[in-house]
């Protein structure tokens, strides 16, 4: 039995499409790291249509992978903007709805202006920060955040979802900037920012999955004894920390990080197995499949990277290794997303509860 949706159906469909596009973006991002082509084009920003106007005649797969990642990033950014506005449009108070929408549009426009200002200095060493655009971004963000907070404080239905929509939009914008500044500040930060970009991608994807889950129609009733409990939450925390170690293994494979990644793999499996054993449902089944795949891919990736006797930084990655390593990253993201979905499902109020069930 389904309760009343918090948003129109198209918003839920759009949220799912955004998740799919983001999964594709993460795959390309994984390939960028696997093939180490994050700096294949040291110029950032470039136009969204850059791949259409550049020469394809010469063999530059690194360049193409990296720019395909940028193009996918632009696409996800655009989809997220539509999603955030679509979710916000469900705000019941018309004045707050208009103010929040205006704030979101100004935020997006000033972000575009920031992007243009950075593009004008793409070939310079020093960065001249466009403080005007940054100021407008901050003011519009405060305005939207205020609108979102007022809904939460007043206990309006769906206010939490709308706040998450705004947070996810800002997170996507930050993620785009992290990716760009990973290129722009390469000399200063090396691959450190790339690691942060990789880790934050997991946070962003989790938020998008959260939006997809929360825009579904809530069930009328929940079997409380089945869905309550801390296990999904603990699993989510462990998986997230494990993904941090994973990102560091890919970018800075020090001995300590390698050990943490192995230890947390055991911890994640030890937490997931009782969860899988005690419950039923699509999410738990998906988690089990992901977990089995992840262990297999992890072993293969580990053997390829650390058992070859060649320093990881010196290894030339074969196509097979690239598939294994990128698959391992992607399945890891899938495990996190599934854990987040289980947490949200276990915490969600029944659809009949009114008000403030978000």
């Amino acid at each position: 039995m389904a309760g009343k949706r918090l948003t129109p159906r198209w918003v839920h469909v759009w949220a799912i499409l955004t998740c799919i596009a983001t999964a594709f973006l993460l795959t390309l991002g994984g390939l960028v790291t696997t093939f180490r082509v994050g700096m294949a084009d040291p110029v950032w920003p470039t136009e969204p249509w850059f791949l259409l106007v550049t020469s394809w005649s010469e063999p530059r797969p690194g360049f193409l992978i990296e720019h395909a990642h940028r193009l996918a990033g632009f696409t996800v950014g655009g989809m997220m903007a539509v999603l955030a506005i679509g979710i916000w449009w469900t705000e019941p108070r018309s004045s707050v709805r208009r103010a929040g929408t205006l704030g979101l549009i100004v935020l997006l426009a000033s972000f575009g202006q920031f992007h243009r200002a950075m593009m004008a200095q793409a070939n310079t060493i020093e960065i001249v920060w466009p403080f005007g655009a940054i100021g407008v971004m901050v003011v519009s963000l405060i305005m939207v955040a205020g609108c979102a907070a007022s809904g939460i404080l007043a206990g309006h239905r769906g206010s939490g979802l709308r706040a998450l929509g705004v947070i996810a939009l800002v997170a996507v914008m930050i993620q785009g900037l992290l990716g760009g500044f990973r290129v722009r500040l390469n000399a200063w930060a090396g691959t450190d920012l790339a690691a942060v970009h990789g880790i934050f991608a997991q946070v962003v994807f989790s938020m998008l999955v959260g939006l997809a889950v929360l825009t579904t129609a809530p069930r009328e009733t929940y079997k409380v004894h089945e869905y309550r409990g801390r296990l999904p939450l603990v699993l989510t925390a462990l998986v997230f920390v494990q993904l941090i170690w994973g990102a560091l293994v890919r970018h800075h494979p020090s001995a300590l990080v390698q050990r943490f990644h192995l230890m947390f793999a055991f911890a994640v499996v030890a937490t997931a197995v009782p969860l899988i054993g005690s419950r039923r449902g699509f999410g738990v089944c998906l988690l089990a499949v992901f977990l089995v795949l992840q262990v297999m891919l992890g072993v293969e990736a580990w053997m390829g990277k650390f058992a070859s006797g060649v320093l990881p930084e010196l290894q030339r990655v074969s196509k097979g290794q690239a598939i294994v390593r990128t698959g391992h990253v992607l399945i890891g993201t899938g495990i996190l997303a599934t854990s987040v979905a289980l947490v949200l499902a276990s915490r969600r109020q029944p659809g009949s509860a009114q008000p403030g069930d978000a």
Binding site: I125, E126, A187, L256, L314, R316
Partner: protein
């Protein structure tokens, strides 16, 4: 809450301990060269660039295209070991890089002290290794996926050099500094202008170390593969090193310098009659069969012509209508490029041109991408469709 805080501190501690570039392991050695050594390039043009990730196969097949390459793996194992032993004694390892200075006069200006090289090695691992590789062979993990291929330092030859001399002359430290600080436009070489001056100098010192090591290895292997007499590998290696050190020193002493340099005001007068006349003369020189710039830069570079470079790879003469100049875009950069040539790419040094003629060429090349900067008669020849 306290438990959560403890978890957070644990994670952050782990992160900060695990993050950051580690130096090379002390047990790591430079691997011996195994890729083919180019003795002679094919006389014909290449069909196109090597497929991605196939540069070694491409160079290995040059014999079939009329070139000549030698394979270091053809040497007996004990000979290879002897060469490797000498290289380790002379140049150390990635973690402890060395260059014996051999009492070459003035060599201290190359800044090849062990501590500078060690600092440079760490920075190289962080910033350069993934493209340029452990030995500076341009075959790092990323190198195979980008084009143009990253520079192979091991033959001691470089493209963008402002010192006068032969095609295989060395660059000055300032030349390397320019490429490092500003990057190389429309390639994957990023600018490292955000590094401190000291860090850039340390990377340059380490690059020279890799180049010296690679060049000594290259010359020893070439001699041995050509079955030339070699009484003592170590003595021969020191002789090659001494010669290379002197060339590096000479490169720092002299630069290609025009007797007159146009001031910025001159450049602002680009639409004035005298400047347009210079552009017209430059166009005539460019298309003159005796100088034959147009022979390689076919249709001013718009038509792709692929030529073999000194490393056995492939280079494409620049499309000058795009306004992208990898060796620098100032008039002086272009003057030095034309006068000194780009030896490894096969662009000859225009030593027979006077300064005025060279400036005419520079003015024409700089005006090429902007149609309104060309005299109408020249424009109609360069851009007949417009």
């Amino acid at each position: 809450m306290t438990r959560l805080l403890r978890c957070f501190v644990f994670v952050i501690t782990g992160l900060s301990a695990g993050c950051g570039t580690q130096p090379y392991p002390t047990g790591l050695a430079y691997p011996p060269r195994v890729d083919a050594i180019v003795v002679r390039l094919p006389a014909t043009d290449a069909e196109g660039p090597p497929p991605a990730g196939k540069i070694d196969e491409f160079i290995g097949n040059l014999n079939a295209r009329g070139g000549k390459v030698l394979n270091p793996n053809d040497l007996p194992e004990e000979t290879r070991s002897a060469v490797n032993r000498v290289l380790v004694e002379m140049f150390g390892s990635p973690a402890v890089p060395l260059v014996p200075l051999l009492d070459v006069q003035g060599v201290e200006t190359l800044h090849l002290e062990p501590e500078t090289l060690a600092a440079g090695s760490f920075l190289y691992k962080k910033h350069c290794l993934q493209c340029h590789g452990l030995t500076g062979d341009g075959r790092g993990p990323t190198g195979q996926w980008v084009y143009p291929s990253p520079r192979d330092f091991r033959q001691g030859i470089f493209k963008f050099v402002t010192s006068p001399g032969t095609a295989s002359r060395k660059p000055s430290r300032a030349d390397l500094h320019r490429s490092l600080a500003l990057g190389i436009e429309r390639t994957s070489m990023p600018p490292f202008g955000m590094l401190s001056e000291l860090e850039r100098e340390q990377i340059i010192s380490y690059t020279i170390h890799l180049s010296l090591r690679g060049e000594v290895e290259y010359r020893l292997l070439l001699d041995l593969l050509n079955q030339e007499d070699m009484d003592n590998v170590a003595t021969e290696a020191r002789s090659y090193l001494r010669s290379a050190l002197r060339q590096w020193l000479a490169a720092d002493i002299e630069r290609i310098t025009p007797t007159t340099i146009p001031t910025p005001n001159d450049l602002d007068r680009r639409v004035q009659p005298d400047h347009l006349e210079s552009v017209r003369r430059g166009h005539q020189l460019f298309t003159n069969p005796a100088i034959n710039c147009i022979g390689c830069h076919v249709d001013f570079g718009r038509q792709a012509r692929y030529l073999y470079d000194s490393w056995g790879g492939v280079t494409r003469p620049n499309d000058l209508t795009e306004g992208v100049y990898r060796g620098g875009k100032t008039p002086l950069d272009l003057f030095q490029r034309i006068r000194g040539g780009v030896g490894p790419s096969g662009m000859p040094a225009a030593v027979t041109l006077s300064d005025d003629q060279t400036w005419d060429l520079v003015h024409f090349v700089l005006a090429l991408p902007a149609t309104n900067m060309l005299p109408s008669d020249v424009r109609s020849q360069v851009y007949p469709a417009r």
